[in-house]
């Protein structure tokens, strides 16, 4: 904190109207086991300073992994130089919506600190997970397990008097199982993680993930190529959560709104989805993968209503976009680490549960497609179009799941799709993910119950 405060003082002496400094010392472990071979086991120690300054309405940013006084001073001067040069070419001056200064210490609840656990225990956990998946079926030909943990100390100081110390700790495990029979290949990924100490791996249940990934991969071997065309679709919690995050959540990020690159601009208070659609971006979600008490600008975070019963109610804001849109900041700025500037980001984004059960959703479908999991996809937030590949699918005939399907994708126009949601189940589930934007990756949670979408475009191979 002393380094951060010194950096802020230097910024002020050099004429900055606002400055914030983040100093971090963090530790990480990354283990990847591929087909019984550890192809990566890396222990990392990162430290550094990130300094952001506002000068005459223009931004400058500097970062350094060296914390020697001379390097810190050069970094601060570099950030100021950048801001001063930017100021000569900025016609729209940036300003920050007001917030009160906070002083706080936030510590993750940790029983067994990540750093106190020897590497061999982490490696053993990884190999046991892999063995579990391999043993499920002899058709499992390849299993890759990735273990990651992250912990350390972070601090944030601003020229407005905010001073925050954080002690983050999180860990996750990802299992990718590949089954093969003849020329048929099925690949499934399962992952889970939490913000806690090493004890989190008991709750996360790596062996359960391993078994599920392997069983689903084997199941895919029976799958037939999917039909193409317009169908009634039921999306599972994972796919619907990815849709909420990618197609809707990104469009609710206020930086996209102010640059005009969002389908949700000028739509505040208007209907954007059916009555059944309520969506939050919730930084306060208990034990959420994207949960934090404060954002990277030191603003207390919130449970942000994005859509309530079909009507657009809010955006995700940082201080600058809040000022531009004349709204109250809601703690939506996040940075991957000290080496990056904070940008508007999601935290835990989810569609809320309804009161039907899964069978009731199914009953209403005479001929449709059930889509499970996500292999990623593409979204154009400006045009409002999306395309996601599901991990697996099933044909729905007369309210029953029948044939398994492979290589199936869901595409459409985001706002049309939100209007066509006509069924929401009561089986809400959260998943973890990593979200990339502006060259930065942050942990995010996504969630949803099963949802039913009428008249959706399904693509086969």
């Amino acid at each position: 904190m002393r380094i951060a405060e010194k950096a802020i003082a230097l910024c002020e002496r050099l004429g900055a109207e606002y400055a914030d400094a983040r100093v971090e010392r963090t530790y990480s472990t990354d283990i990847r086991l591929m087909k019984d071979t550890f192809d990566q086991v890396a222990s990392g120690a990162d430290q550094g300073l990130g300094i952001r300054v506002l000068y005459k309405g223009a931004w400058g940013f500097g970062s350094s992994t060296s914390l020697k006084p001379r390097d810190v001073s050069q970094t601060v001067r570099g950030a100021l130089k950048a801001a001063k040069a930017t100021a000569l070419h900025t016609h729209e001056k940036a300003s920050l919506a007001e917030v009160s200064a906070v002083k706080d210490v936030v510590t993750a609840t940790v029983k067994e600190p990540m750093r106190s656990v020897p590497i061999d225990r982490k490696m053993r956990l990884t190999s046991e997970t892999s063995e579990k998946a391999t043993k499920v079926d002899k058709r499992i030909v390849s299993v890759t397990v990735t273990y990651s943990d992250f912990s350390g100390e972070t601090c944030l100081a601003t020229s407005e008097g905010t001073s925050l110390v954080g002690m983050p700790s999180r860990g996750s495990i990802v299992v990718v199982a590949v089954a093969r029979e003849g020329a048929k290949v099925g690949t499934i990924r399962e992952r889970n993680g939490m913000q806690a100490g090493f004890e989190l791996f008991e709750k996360v249940n790596p062996l359960g993930l391993a078994r599920r990934a392997a069983e689903r991969a084997v199941k895919l071997l029976e799958a037939a190529p999917a039909p193409s065309g317009r169908f009634t679709v039921i999306a599972d919690q994972k796919l619907a959560g990815v849709f909420a995050h990618e197609a809707v959540g990104h469009a609710a990020e206020a930086d996209h709104v102010v640059t005009g690159e969002s389908i949700l601009k000028d739509k505040m208070g208007q209907r954007v989805g059916s009555d059944l659609v309520t969506m939050y971006d919730d930084s306060t979600y208990p034990e959420g993968w994207g949960t934090s008490f404060y954002d990277s600008e030191g603003v207390p975070t919130e449970k942000r209503v994005i859509i309530e019963r079909g009507f657009l109610k809010g955006y995700i804001l940082n201080r600058e976009t809040a000022a531009q849109l004349d709204m109250k900041p809601n703690g939506g700025a996040r940075a991957q680490s000290f080496a990056y500037r904070p940008v508007v980001r999601m935290s835990n984004t989810y569609l809320t549960a309804g009161d039907q059960n899964f069978e009731e959703l199914l009953k209403g479908v005479d001929h449709g497609v059930y889509l499970k999991g996500s292999r990623g996809g593409q979204v154009d937030t400006a045009k409002g179009t999306f395309q996601f590949s599901a991990e697996e699918g099933y044909l729905i005939e007369k309210g029953q799941l029948t044939k398994p399907l492979s290589d199936v994708s869901l595409s459409g126009i985001t706002l049309e799709t939100l209007m066509n949601i006509d069924g929401v189940a009561n089986d809400f589930q959260m998943s973890i993910g990593l979200c990339g934007k502006a060259g930065q990756v942050v942990p995010t949670g996504t969630g949803s119950p099963h949802i039913r979408i009428r008249n959706a475009v399904v693509g086969g191979k």
Binding site: Q40, A82, A85, G377
Partner: protein, 438 residues
């Protein structure tokens, strides 16, 4: 020990103005240890960004304890031995250390002026960067080498709007040299494409000859072919090219060289990330596959010469090299150019399309080379003329078969870089008879 130490300056352009100037200083060191065991050897790895004695010692101990627990690998023998390295290609521009954020901002302002000449241009974003750094490798077998390099470049993304229609254009430039004029020119090209993309028409699905510009080709190559010539993936039986050395894998017009000594190129370097001297070598010669890319481990496992292609990178991400253990990749993959101009290549096409880029190349299946991609910035070619911009088009295909359908290359080589191990120097090319869906 693999270490880098660098300073990078960049500016971000958003909403037709310079949004932020940034200066990033980054130093770090990756430490790898090898422990010999009765039935082989094991390695351990850790990295630090703080070079104080305590932190480095702690990291070294972690690396050793990892190596102790890892099961021995019988194919793992040793690290790189000391060897003579060549003189480096010219990859250091003396002007770059003197560059200030204000110089980049001036360039950014010129790019904005260039991009905004037409009133239909509605949004402009992009970036300009300049960086310099030193890379060092040392080990207990006597390797101790280092080199300095610089990088300069940027990109421009332009949106044009007119009577309800939206057109998008973009362009990139990268070099080890401070080539500000070439970078500014990308802004004009991006704006020109965006305007010409206005009022697109749908394309009849069917079979077309497809002309692909360099940026698109690089994206496709890096996500498919490059991952298939890595010896580590070949040895794990994860490449469709396994066992294909000496066979024809592409049309006769394809010659691909991995060249670590191309002047101005960002992938040029005298030694790889384990300290092995690099050398220029053909990967595909007139359609015939000549070699895979090796690092010290894969070479000793197979008992072949180490090609010096140890690089530290991950496919989709921007982690500093020192945080990663050695992987494998090309330095600069050079696709041999043809003779004519790009326009001449387009003239050859009776019924086809011109494509600048692909969307979703990273979703390609590396193992099989299969891909299904949306096309970006597409124009229809009819009887050698660009006739109209095309709305939504997709291609499905397979990298091995595309290499066989590749018929002609223009002479307009351009360097496209997507990070370490991801530099392709290629001309615009013509792929014959691809199935295009609307």
């Amino acid at each position: 020990m693999f270490a880098t130490n660098g300073v990078g300056t960049n500016i971000v352009i958003e909403k037709k103005q310079v949004k932020i100037g940034q200066v990033k200083r980054d130093q770090g060191m990756g430490i790898r240890v090898l422990i010999k065991k009765a039935d082989g050897a094991s390695t351990g790895f850790s990295y630090v960004t703080d070079f104080s004695r305590n932190t480095v010692m702690e990291a070294a101990e972690k690396a050793v304890s990892t190596a102790r627990v890892k099961r021995a690998d019988k194919d793992l023998k040793s690290f790189q031995e000391k060897a003579r390295t060549r003189k480096a290609a010219d990859v250091f521009d003396k002007r770059i250390p003197r560059i200030d954020p204000s110089d980049l901002i001036e360039i950014g302002a010129s790019m904005l002026r260039e991009a905004c000449k037409d009133s239909r241009v509605s949004a402009v974003s992009g970036s300009v960067y300049a960086s310099l750094g030193e890379t060092s490798v040392a080990n207990s077998l006597g390797v101790s080498v280092s080199y300095k390099s610089t990088a300069f470049g940027g990109n421009m993304y332009v949106v044009a709007e007119s009577t309800g229609s939206v057109g998008v254009g973009w362009d990139t430039h990268s070099s080890s040299q401070y080539e500000s004029e070439k970078l500014v020119a990308t802004a004009g090209d991006a704006a020109d494409t965006a305007i010409r993309q206005l009022n697109p028409k749908p394309l009849e699905p069917g079979i077309y000859d497809v002309v692909v510009d360099q940026d698109g080709l690089a994206d496709l190559f890096m996500n498919t072919f490059v991952q298939q010539i890595r010896a580590d993936l070949v040895q794990r039986n994860q490449s469709p090219l396994t066992g294909k050395i000496g066979s024809e894998v592409a049309s006769e017009s394809v010659t691909l060289i991995d060249d670590p000594a191309v002047p101005r190129a960002l992938g040029s370097k005298p030694f790889d990330s384990e300290g092995c001297p690099t050398n220029s070598r053909p990967i595909v010669e007139r359609g015939v596959l000549r070699t895979f890319l090796h690092n010290s481990y894969t070479a000793s496992k197979e008992g072949v010469e180490n090609t010096g292609n140890s690089l530290r990178y991950i496919m989709f991400g921007t982690r500093p090299e020192y945080t990663l253990e050695p992987s494998i990749g090309p330095h600069n993959l050079v696709l041999k150019p043809g003779m004519g101009r790009r326009e001449d290549l387009i003239r050859e096409v009776k019924s086809g399309i011109l494509v600048r880029g692909f969307i979703g190349a990273h979703t390609s299946n590396v193992q099989s080379g299969d891909f299904s991609l949306a096309l970006d910035c597409v124009f229809r070619i009819e009887n050698g003329d660009l006739t109209f911009p095309v709305k939504h088009a997709m291609i499905g295909g397979n990298m091995p078969s595309i290499l066989r359908q590749l018929r002609l290359a223009a002479g307009n080589s351009k360097q496209v870089t997507m990070g370490p191990g991801m530099t392709l120097i290629s001309p615009t090319i013509l792929i014959e008879r691809l199935t295009v869906a609307a």
